[in-house]
Homo-oligomer: 171 residues x 2
């Protein structure tokens, strides 16, 4: 399995799924006659990030994963979004950024030595960066965003979480 396949496609798909959950959040808010942006300040614990920050973090984990594995400098996003519409723009920007990477960009990515400020004097191999740090972190924020919406009553299920799955006809 290539690092490109383990990284780009799953991250892109989950960002797409996340935007679909926001569609359902807006529908829910319309039905309840509330401002949908109210949901962005909801959180599951007082010392955990609210929904807006979970989505921003999902975007950041996605862009840093692709950038660091390929030695590129990711675009900056200053976390100023305050509405669902602004978050949609951020989600699409990162989805598009992920789409600029090629399989060739990921050559050697598994054994690339990556330095991070919080691993002073140490490095992490690209494959460990992906498997131990970035995928868990990315799914953490995406799942927490989903759970905040579920907890607030938005009509979401496992199919919404997973999105479309690549299958092939038998025989």
């Amino acid at each position: 399995m290539s690092m490109y396949e383990a990284c780009i496609f799953p991250l892109q798909k989950m960002l797409t799924n996340l935007e679909r959950w926001l569609d359902k959040a807006v529908a829910f808010a319309e039905q309840k006659k509330i401002d949908p942006n109210t949901l962005l300040s909801a959180r599951l614990a007082p010392d955990q990030f609210p929904l807006v920050r979970q989505i921003q973090a999902s975007c950041d984990q996605a862009k840093f994963t692709a950038a660091r594995l390929t030695g590129k400098e990711p675009p900056k996003h200053p976390d100023t979004e305050q509405t669902i519409e602004e978050l949609r723009i951020r989600l699409r920007a990162v989805h598009e950024y992920l789409g600029t990477f090629t399989r060739e960009d990921f050559e050697g990515a598994a054994m690339r030595a990556i330095s991070l400020v919080y691993f002073e004097g140490r490095f992490i191999y690209g494959k460990d960066y992906l498997n131990e740090l970035q995928l868990p972190n990315f799914y953490f924020h995406v799942t927490t965003a989903y759970s905040i919406l579920r907890h607030n009553g938005v009509d979401l299920g496992k199919q919404d979480f997973l999105g479309s799955i690549t299958t092939h006809p038998k025989g």
Copy 2:
């Protein structure tokens, strides 16, 4: 990157982390003078699985991932756990089961055609099964277990979620 590396080690580590969260849940319950097993029925939404089922599902996703990618029959677990101690036994059994797999078991796993009852007449390649279905599903249940504990006041942070990270000294 090998399928073995993308599968076995991250799954084992997260199951280990999950058991550490249960240690913190027990410490929290002692401090609050409540039965720690009370937490097992907590959930984030009335139509979502409670904690006990999130942990059982994490175990199932982990064992099925390794088994289906390698064409083996996984051990059966009838979901009868009712206490944290019983869940620890399940978590360790699955951790141990994952430890029985070798790199050789995963040869050809990326392009293995996997049939699932809910993909009638279709199959999924091993790499897509891992990236699109199993890792998202596994992290979904693990993160939701974590969020249920956080939501109930258990003292957990991102470091508890990620656990130890494999880094190497520079130079």
